[in-house]
Amino acid sequence: MFRYLKLYFHFFRNCLIRELEFRFNVFILSIVHIFWLGVMLGSVTLIFGQVDSIAGWTKQEVLILAVVGMLFHDIMEMFFMGNLERFSYYIRHGEFDFILLKPVNPRFMTSFRYTEFQNIFRIIIMVFVLASLLRGAGLQPSIYEWAGFFAFFLAGLVVFYNIFFMVITTNFWLINLFNFNDIFDRLLSAGRYPVGIFKGRLESFFAYVIPLGLIATFAVEIFLGRAALVSFGIAAFMVVVTSLASELFWRFALKHYQSASS
């Protein structure tokens, strides 16, 4: 375990040094990302120019939800998405062979080799925006509420990392599906709305197959004093099930890997 932490630290430092080589690029990307934050908050404001509430959530509550959803999205991008995106390339170009040859767990290498820093400024800004929105809504979460919030947030990260990892694992067979990231992006964006918007079969699908509530809704409900016990159950259940399923599927897929003759 310590060996992997040390290795991760070196990967992290290596990525940071690489990003600092292209400071101007990071600066421009940061501006673009902050602009996107404005677009997202602007969209919510425009929607509430026409409606009073969405699935019972007021404008202030949806804004908090949207910021938490975007934070979740950015943290996924920072730590996982860049790695998962590269996986299709490794398979197509036979570079996965080199990962298999290294004396490190291949899943670790596939999932954690790269850290993307382009969202870092937006993450910092969003923390301040979130604090301001909470204050504006008259919410002062206790330490227990913060603990619950982070528990849901972390559970969401684990669950969505596992789900996305299972999806990219199919590259062992499908090879040319290089744009899975589009689906990931849409799903994470969907998490910025309350899960209560889904009705009927969609409600079950987005509760138990792709638990969108774990992106932001369940965490924000803690602040609003609306957290249901069943949400904790769903979170714990999904963490265990997706962790097991993704590891078993990964092991099964590894046995079917055919190198692209690097």
């Binding site: 602009f35 677009v39 929607i47 120019g49 026409q50």
Partner: protein
């Protein structure tokens, strides 16, 4: 255009069409990802509580707007940005175009046509299935008229040329800056927010609407939809077509300037 030249562009069309069929999986991924967006936005509007009309649309009209928009997304998004920027960055453009006797503009246009010929069929099939499902659940409503369809089709053709020209010019920036992905992100922010993809532009306050009607983004997506849903008078349609034509011409001229100057400024490696 001579027959000989036409045959060359036809070859680009066929090549791209074959490649698209071969890599059809990625199109299915795009369809699915747009389907997720459609599902979410429809659910948002169905769960919204409002005492007024939504930017001049009823809820069922709004759902129709996103459904037709789902299809329109496949029809109008002729985006040579990615391949253009890649070719310039990698130096591939030297062998693929700069030393060959044909127009880069029409080569890219033929390739995009090849991609869209297949993508539109898939997109249309998916949209029709969704339309039947939505109709069955009485979720959509719009008044159909041949007159509006005629004007909407003209606006669609203009949108194709606008998107194509805009995207191509952005791709050509790679002649000077090599890495231009950031610009693409800005394009999408403009197109999605100001072009009516997230919300119809009637949701914006009055002053913003005036600005949006002058900028090119509206003519990349929203304009045909506004016509199709009977939200514009004939005078507004004609004015929109004139502005749209202006932007098409602007992007063609900009392309010519950028192409001429970019080729002279360009230094490639490894070719």
């Amino acid at each position: 255009m001579s027959n000989k030249l036409m045959r060359k562009y036809l070859a680009f069309f066929k090549n791209q069409f074959s490649a698209t069929i071969y890599y059809r999986g990625s199109i299915l991924v795009w369809i699915f990802s747009n389907l997720v967006f459609l599902t979410v936005i429809v659910s948002v509007w169905l769960s919204a509580s409002s005492t007024q009309s939504l930017g001049g649309y009823s809820v069922s009209e709004l759902i129709g707007y996103y459904l037709v928009g789902f299809f329109l997304h496949w029809v109008v998004n002729w985006l040579p940005f990615y391949s253009t920027a890649d070719e310039i960055k990698s130096g591939e453009i030297v062998a693929s175009t700069l030393t060959k006797p044909f127009s880069f503009y029409w080569r890219k246009f033929s390739e995009e046509a090849g991609w869209h010929a297949f993508a539109i069929i898939l997109g249309l099939t998916m949209t029709l299935i969704l339309a039947v499902v939505f109709q069955h659940q009485q979720l959509i409503a719009f008044e159909f008229s041949w007159n509006m369809l005629f004007w909407a089709l003209i606006a669609v053709v203009l949108a194709i040329f606008s998107v194509f020209g805009f995207s191509l010019c952005l791709g050509l920036l790679a002649f000077w800056f090599t890495e231009v992905w950031t610009v693409d992100t800005l394009f999408w922010a403009g197109r999605n927010f100001l072009g009516g993809w997230y919300l119809p532009i009637s949701f914006f306050p009055g002053v913003f609407q005036t600005i949006i009607k002058i900028l090119p983004f509206r003519y990349l997506f929203s304009f045909p939809l506004e016509i199709f849903f009977n939200k514009l008078s004939l005078k507004e349609i004609i004015l929109g077509i004139i502005i749209s034509l202006f932007w098409i011409l602007f992007f063609i001229l900009l392309y010519r300037v950028m192409w001429e100057r970019g080729r002279k400024a360009y230094t490639s490696f490894g070719q």
